[in-house]
Subunit: 289 residues, 6 copies
């Protein structure tokens, strides 16, 4: 193992029938191991993970305590989260898919529990899903209040109406902004400072649609009701105002397609899963300079 | 009304004689309506809005509770804000102008109360105005402490010496940085991650001057004592180091004027109010690629 | 002194033998002076600075109270910080070097105490150094929990394994992301929204190496195991995927070397110390447009 | 109505079939009326009562927030209470009986909601019932931790093993101490500073047994495994070390039976319900002096 | 000065024209002196006293922070207290009279600031006066909520309708209970665990009336609408159910008049001011045994 | 073992050479066992006991978190306690002696950790010892502030100048008041509501002196500079104004010596250790009535 690496010695998690139960057990085992080796953290690990009987309760507790304020009490939020997670199993399976996404795609993610406890992108996304549910139940003032807390606490600003798939990795996550009519597919990876923004002051459908398997690099800005095709890659710092075809790469400000507008190069892999930010970009970059 | 839209059914607010009173009444009506429809939020709405006799008290309470810490108590901050808002009516009228700006320009802003409670850009801006007042009263250590709290809590970093007009919309707001000698005019709209920065380590007048009605897109960086002319538009992700003439559009890194340096295209509308981020940009983007 | 300037009248601090003692005394004098002139802030100044017998205790107290949460108590963090600062004198001398860096390079930094109390970049960096120490002691779960708190509270996301030198200025700091295998030399200045990121999902050495005296402008993104040579300058908003030679300037997205790839212009000064963001860039910018 | 009196104009509550539902509706109506007349209190009333769908949830929320500490979080306690109240209907009916007891017997109790929110005796008793349940489930460390919080917060110290009936009024309640093997029947009224204590350092059954309908005056001390017969009255400040027969009155230090040891006077009423502290005592007091 | 004694070297405070201003200045001087000698306490002293411009603001701040809870925020209470103290000068003069009472009568009271900050009896009494004012303004739910907080935090339970004079010393104060229709005159001293209670479950005028200058010893219980005459003394632990004539002493359980019922001994001094608990009692005690 | 009893199965603790280490190990073992059996409490047990390397640190942490307020931060108090406990080994050995006292004398004390965590009398006494140390170091304002917090939080009011021995059991403890010049010997047991009070408003030596091995029953009031001889017993509710000879029993209000003033009955046991409250009292009580 290279120096500087640190990974829990668990075999790669299989996608079995009771996958969600497997992940929760894994989380508890990791937490137990950490609590034993680090007494200073044991209290934290027991209160957030080890004292809970399910992933839903653990997440509800953790989010309630993270997002509460002096005017929105932790008990109120805990209740809200617990109720949502208990009555909608899809929230739990989405959370598990996101945990897997972080674990597999982010080499700095040393364990599921590390992601559950510490990844603001993961936590913001789970809280968003509850806000989204409230939005769809027409409990919009509450959804917006939750949205505001997520933005304050995690600096992640996802409008509660935005639709987000499963297996999402918001890596680092600080500064992410996702607008009201944005849609994000499955298995998408989005780095920090990414904006999926609107334009103009008219309402209606005005935000980007991100296909499955897309990778959006740090600081990229995508504006308007444009379509980022399945498996496309958006380079870091790009500014994208037009559609990007599937499995192509757009880079630069304003964004250009690698390989040219007419016949852009197509890649084989799924960047949202391979997390390959730069191949196909750096050569080009060399070329340009 | 398109699907996914949600707006309070109030007629567009007239700018009457007692405009500020009208807006405060509207806020209370909205909050009352929300409290009735959503008991889980009623406590929050009463403590932040409905229990207060004026917009100034509501804002002071809300900011005091948002910005307090274990070493800067909410009562101290509340006192500070209340004193500032009570003795300086211009702070109140600026707040009302900002509320109107959000309501009119941001299609995701469903009500005044939504902005008052949840918009970190709005809250950071009102708190900044108080810090600015303290700065001008030579209460600079206090102004800087307040500045620091605003930056910690909202991730909005406006130096207390910066001068900011009325009718400002800081949309999303996370990551905004505004330097010490920056000046922002009236009716300006600034998206998140925008930097109005200095350059060099010498003091003196070293930050941008933003004219009335300017729109600055997400992630734009403007550095040095340059002048962004009235009604100009700065594209998302642009890096601007030189003056931008009035009613022109600068885009790219480094920023270029749309239409060319010599004879840039002039637009008619006021982008800071129309929020048109992309017209005139995307064609050009097409052209370039 | 130009209008809008505000500086403590202390002569520039000498680098004497007991430099660290000198700085601490200076901090206390500044705080005492502020407490006297501003009773509303006196309580804050006494609790954070004036009641403490050393810089280490003051910092530990301040960080403990800033970074605590309902599940990670301030007493636990205080203990952790105090223990680290007490047993490792290099942490204290690094803090003093960073205080000097802010004081000398940032014209908005009016005093050492202003930096100690209010600069999120300074505080995040000191807390990171403790997390890094824990990481190296194989107390990784604790290091990662601390990392997460720093990211939540300051929106500064530095992986605990990243190696950072002395005399660092993280100016404004919001949105900074520094990856696991990144290395930052001495006397480096890094503005907000800067990313030192990796690429791909494989582990190993995959993040930038930043030489001594480098200046990285706001919003710059540097990806992969590339080398930014000593005294180089990276323009705001640049996206850098390749090595940058010493004392050269890279700008743009994708980044180009000022003066051309083959024979880039070399500057004499140390940008990380001179903080000259734009000279050599703006002319070029003019040229390009 | 005499001056200084203040009562809600509701007719005396009937003991109907759905008595508990009736009381909860009454509480909500009172709270709604108070919230309307007193905006400053509305937030409190919504968070504690009006936002909840049942008495159990309201009580769990209120107790969780009252009894929490920095090391025993409100969410944990809320969960604990909610689980107990949801799974054991007898806890709810006991709470309703206690609410009725306060409302009927204490002329200063102006409403059910007043008791639910403000009576430390009522709240301590409901929390004790949960601690008692935990004790009986052999979750004793948790029961004792809860016991400790009740004693800290309300200055009411009831050992979790003590058995307490229904329709109990702990009036004022400060300083009440009830030992491990004490038993309290139904419809008992106990004033503040009352001790039901043990004696000696041996374990076993060593605390008083209080029959139905007993009234124990302020500051009375009853020690040892003695029996206070049904309907008996213990005068304020009495020290009782021996059995007291049913429907008799014991007063003084050491306590004597009114009317004499051999043929004590028997009263007809039930003092625990009539709250007649002094009749039969003051004449005797006159006589003695 | 005897060993174990510790007094601030101020001359006894004159009752001058601007007595209240004199006391507030004295408090600030004491706090300044303490802050200088004890840096660990300076933050506390600045936040509670030295940062405030008046006794009213200091008291409002201190009470707001002492009595707040997670559901009754400090800002709300601060506002409430400040409004009461600012609009009713009699509250301020009563507070000053109480400060003087503690300073003169309690040898353990080393300074005015010591009483202002640390005496729960003093603080409970000032908070009660505000609750009483609210009660008289028919803001009874708010008065009762405040009453409940005072009882929780200080273990001092004074019904908001109770009428209390000036120059009151509640010494130690834990466990004091004062009922709804009780009246306490001026210059009264009441020790801890004292009950001024009612009897029976009927409403109306049912609590004791305490004349000017009365001293009530620790643990005394006075029940019913009885009159304790001016300058009377009630021995510690006494249980009083009948009137006590002026300037006489009642002791015992049940209480007897010293000197006999027919011709009780009259004392010359004012016990509420001389604090002579035992003279006239101990001889008699000897005699009895 | 009788029903209702619950004891940890540890053999009675020997008084070995490293007695204090033994007790601390025992505490940790108990806590570990509890944490395992009750996950809901594990976080609490880790944060208060299991994460600490010594009894001193555990106590300092627990007291700091119990006694802190919004104006006296937990970190400050933790520091204060830790410093005191670390530099004065007698504080630690006194704490261990008090733990033993509770464990041996109180049948409801099921374990050392139960006492350490939950006994307000134990915690108030340890905090008092630190306040007393500060008092003797002439840090009196700090000692008094601590005194005030102890009284607020635990309702135990011990003047910081009071001198207290080792092996003390304050059982239940609510309402205990101990005056400035009081002295308490070793192996004393004091029940709740006990007052060791002064009399008069003159300073000087004016409070009771309690000999070794004394037992003072609930609600007893001892006033003035009187001497309670070694091994004496004071009955519950007694009011004592005169000296009580060694190994005698005083009961009643006013207190009389059992067996008569001239030739009081002497007992053999040490009531402070045997906790025999009533033998010798109840017969007499029978006799009187």
């Amino acid at each position: 193992m290279p120096a500087g690496e640190f990974r829990y010695p668990s075999s790669p998690p299989p996608e079995t029938e009771d996958d969600e139960g497997w992940v929760w057990n894994q989380i508890k085992e990791e937490a137990r191991c950490d609590a034993e080796s680090e007494p200073a953290l044991a209290s934290y690990l027991y209160s957030t993970i080890l004292s809970h009987s399910s992933l839903e309760r653990s997440l509800s507790f953790h989010l309630g305590n993270k997002l509460c304020s002096s005017t929105l009490l932790s008990t109120l939020l805990y209740d809200l989260f617990l109720n949502a997670f208990s009555t909608d199993p899809s929230l739990r399976s989405a959370a598990v898919a996101d945990l897997r996404a972080a674990r597999v795609r982010d080499p700095a993610c040393v364990s599921f529990s590390h992601c559950l406890l510490n990844y603001k992108g993961f936590l913001a996304c789970q809280a968003h899903r509850v806000a989204h549910k409230l939005w769809n139940q027409s409990r919009r003032p509450l959804a917006l209040a939750l949205h505001s807390r997520i933005s304050d606490v995690f600096a992640v600003d996802i409008h509660p109406a935005a639709r987000i798939g499963k297996g999402i990795l918001f890596d680092h996550a600080t500064g992410v902004v996702v607008g009201e009519t944005a849609v994000i597919g499955n298995n998408v990876s989005i780095l920090h400072h990414v904006t999926l923004g609107g334009t103009g002051k008219a309402g209606g459908d005005r935000h980007p649609k991100i296909g499955d398997g897309v990778l959006i690099g740090a600081g990229a800005t995508i504006l308007g009701n444009v379509r980022i095709g399945e498996g496309a890659k958006i380079g870091a710092g790009s500014v994208v105002l037009i559609n990007v075809p599937p499995r192509t790469t757009a880079v630069g400000n304003p964004a250009r397609l690698v390989g040219g507008k007419e016949k852009p190069a197509k890649h084989e892999d799924v960047p949202g899963e391979s997390m390959d930010h730069t191949s196909g970009i750096s050569e080009w970059s060399d070329y340009i300079i």
